[in-house]
Symmetry: C2
Subunit: 367 residues, 2 copies
Amino acid sequence: MTLPIHKPTLLLDKDKAIRNIERMIEKASEANVSFRPHFKTHQSAEIGSWFSERGVTKITVSSVDMASYFAVAGWLDILIAFPVNVRQGRAINKLAHEIDLHLVVESVATAVTLNNFLGTTVNVWLKIDTGHGRTGIRWDDLELLTDVAHTVAAAPHLNLTGILTHAGQTYAARSTEEIAAIYAETARRLGTIRRHLQAEGHTLLVSVGDTPACSIIEDFADIDEIRPGNFVFYDLAQQRLGACFPDDIAVGVACPIVAKHEADHRIVLYGGAVHLSKDSMVINEEVIYGRIARLSKDGWGQMQYGSKLILISQEHGVFTTDPFTFDSLDVGDVVVVLPVHSCLTVDLYSQYLTLSGDIITKMRTNP
Amino acid sequence: MTLPIHKPTLLLDKDKAIRNIERMIEKASEANVSFRPHFKTHQSAEIGSWFSERGVTKITVSSVDMASYFAVAGWLDILIAFPVNVRQGRAINKLAHEIDLHLVVESVATAVTLNNFLGTTVNVWLKIDTGHGRTGIRWDDLELLTDVAHTVAAAPHLNLTGILTHAGQTYAARSTEEIAAIYAETARRLGTIRRHLQAEGHTLLVSVGDTPACSIIEDFADIDEIRPGNFVFYDLAQQRLGACFPDDIAVGVACPIVAKHEADHRIVLYGGAVHLSKDSMVINEEVIYGRIARLSKDGWGQMQYGSKLILISQEHGVFTTDPFTFDSLDVGDVVVVLPVHSCLTVDLYSQYLTLSGDIITKMRTNP
């Protein structure tokens, strides 16, 4: 069918997304690890149902609001993989009464506060910084780890469940070999912590979560659970890392062409930072905000490797491309921008348009 | 009053915004130029009324949807400062019948298409690229300029009105002197074009639009209209350019603290790219996504110059600060992040919370 594109529109290739989902389910099953996909990428109850229809029962989210949204959608086992925000005590308590709630703690103070405001028991995972440097207890700070573990274990409303990391440093890798090496080191560090806390009397599960490693690694020895999220749609950043093929990218933003500049072979899109996000990647010292594919009746065709979205402002995007593509495109035509980071692009919308013309709704992060 | 902050919340200091508005109205009046503020920064009918109450009757917007939103709010003279998107012909036609509509054209092809689908007359401005390199007819391409001007002038539904530029290259300036020099060169280039087209029989208005130049320049000789937008809220990028003082920044995002890391003196916020946007600035080779101010009963206090939001992911922000501030903040406290680019931050929300606790609604860019 011909899609009704008048302005920047978030497109979803449902077949590709389902293929990505099925591949990760199969991988987790073969590796004998529990699969708790992160839903922060799609944020949609309907897309969530594509997982539940295939047997997934546990999910990860990144905020209390997102947990509430998916609880309403029927999910009964939800991990909020973000340090507990003690200012949302009431909403956390409500969820704890409704579902099997899993929370992440990284300090004695938060564990104590959390235990005090809870009216029922929740499962607690210790957040470990295995080298990413964003948040969590440093993997080598065994003293703090032990303190927090003892505090959680002793708290009547907290059920010490496991240790958890997001090894986001894989996003800075330059090859799949480097991703594999980071994963191996992450698993080694988590193994050391598990054994240390085991010796202190705590039996713990181990959970890891980044899409690059979960896409590349086959053998998850000593890991109990994986929590990838981005794999449902993938994007240019993952493709560049070698975590997916260009053809696995399941979302794009359809953008009308509003100007062509012959002099420097640039094409101006109605499609800017408010439609794509401002996330970028640097290739050969050049900052790139997306690549272009042609819109066809069946969706979008092959990614144009020679195309580069090189400039982006609030509503404008400017791309360069090969001479053949440049000449074949006109003002009023629509192209598809493949995003650098699908999570941030998708977050800008409250709905997807599928290639068969259906609207799929999603939650909004902010009121 | 104590604001009810449970999660990242867009705060608006109404007094500062009104002060910014009044200052720019006064400047335009003293310089004897027409004032057509850009509403893409605030995107709010209620904030728009703060302008109309002070005598403003003409506005600029960046999309057809935004024009429709403000037309419903009662604005009768609207310029869409974006190359005409011919795929929105029906909505453009509807607006053209309802209000005094101004459009921007930069090619013969678009002028012809536009004239063909219009059922009434619109005002057309030629978009000039005076050096920014994003979009528009290059200032020195007098042949193309003349072609487009003749085409527009001859088209029955197009009323050739003026030439217009957005000298966005001021955002790359390193001093107010450099901004003034860019402005002078912009005005000179536009003057040359005006005289050239005057000799061809076209009497044209001249309109300029960037907030840095509009904030710094006092004498707008040979300019008929100014269209700044960002000045309503300003931000760290403008403050760094010297276009405003820190105390002029009228929006911030209140964010709860969720973790503190003593080892490297980092504080983790519930507040990431989906709450702030991923726009950044580079200071001393370091990428910065925002600075911190303390939340007080009356809003936020002085910007902490020593604070830097140095890492941002989907929902996390990590900042460093001076030892005194670090020690005085705890998990559960709320700080205010001053944004690098207020337009993109504000675009992520559908409402503001004022310091007196009122909700002000705004439009959303994407469905």
